[in-house]
Amino acid sequence: MKNQWINGLIGIVRVKVTGRGVERFLNQLTRNEILIWNVKRHGTQAITFQIRLTDIKKLRGPARASECKIRFIERAGGPFFLQRLWTNSGFVIGAVAFFALILILSNMVWGIEIKGASPATEYQIRKELDDMGVKLGTPQFKVDNVDVIQRELTDKVKALTWVGVELQGTTYHFQVVEKAEPEKPELYSAQNLVATKKATIVKMFVEEGEQVVELNDNVKPGQLLVSGLIGKEDEKQPVAARGEILGETWYKSQVELPLNSTFQVFSGEEKRKYHLNIGSATIPVWGFGDHQYKEFEQETRDYRLKLLKWELPVIFKTETIREREEVNRTYTEKEAIKRATDLARKDIKNQLPEDATIKGEEILHQSIKNGKVKLSILFQVIENIAEGQPIIQGDEDDSRFENNGNPTS
């Protein structure tokens, strides 16, 4: 009686006994230590009762000896349930497949919506997203975090001031604010051109204005190059002086490069592991075994699984372990000097505007001490040194302050 649920697991059979002397048959069963329960009388001839599935075989002997007939009328419990499950396994498989499909589909990217962008910018954003792997139909755990996408987009697409990235279900929403770049005024106001740097003028190309300096002149910062006042001596017209004044400037750069250096690089070997985290339990999905790397760097990415609109308490974890190697680099003196010069040139290039060119370089000083090459290099650079400086009316006689203060006079 007390272990009825265990009987349930084993399996229960309902037996119908008909014939004369069913009571004697029951006594016989109890004496053979067969558990019987729920004995009920049906009419004058028949009774039914339940026994365990394992006791079925023991029923045979007493049944032969008696004058009763036995029929099994009901089967219930564990094995029968399993059997039914097996015959109906199509349903179970269907249900599991359905949930798996929903689960997979809910964790894909199904839409990319971009709002507030001009067609050109939108195209650019879509292209960048494609490069990042944000495409229709990619599983979301392969895609970077929303914050990362936002950062990369603002970095890569120049026309963006700000982009809001939001993942709603399976759709990425991008709220774009474009830079409202003011159009450059075609007409300049009256201005002079002055030098920005100390330089020697090598080439002049004046579009408008009166040239003040000559080729090969040395100029100081702030010195007038092209005047915006043209005309005769007494009736000068202010115009916007425009042009390009190329000057030769000098930059001094100091570099230091060790002859021997060790640094760490990734060897290209990597191992990926995938886990499912449910609560505190971790189930490895793919990528088993330990890595053999002595030096390595580990990167993990978590992705929370979703089912339709709900977030599941299941985290898909991608672990990437990259092998690191220590590399020794040794330069000969000659190589080191060359590398250092290259380095210095690159450094200078970074500082210069795009239209500047390096004309020549000269090593002023070079020394090798403590395994380090020390160079000091002078670069000759040709660049545009002209800069517009607006002319304010009445600037010539230096009386603008009085005029400004007293506009009616």
Binding site: E23, R31, L35, I36, W37, N38, V39, I47
Partner: protein
């Protein structure tokens, strides 16, 4: 005659030595819960069973339980748990 003698001795023993009579004398021990359950220990087999009447063999005589809608919940060699609505419990001596 011998059986009677042994009965008498057992009766005397249980009285004088304060031993439980059901153990000493193979008497049935009947527990009832209201009208709905009856639990009988120390029976010697089922004689008749229907939904209105259950007849049990005892060491001495028989026990007749009358009522309605009887279901034997459990039956073991010496125990039986009966469910239903019990109206009468009758001892039958030969």
């Amino acid at each position: 005659m011998a059986k009677k003698w042994s009965q008498l001795i057992r009766n005397w023993m249980s009285q004088t030595m304060d031993l439980p009579p059901d153990v000493m004398m193979d008497l049935p021990r009947i527990t009832m819960v209201g009208q709905i359950h009856i639990y009988i220990e120390n029976h010697r087999g089922l004689l008749a069973f229907s939904d209105r009447e259950v007849r049990l063999l005892l060491e001495q005589g028989q026990l007749l339980v009358k009522g309605k809608a009887f279901v034997i919940k459990t039956i073991l060699p010496e125990e039986i748990l009966l469910e239903g609505k019990i109206d009468q419990v009758i001892y039958i001596n030969e």
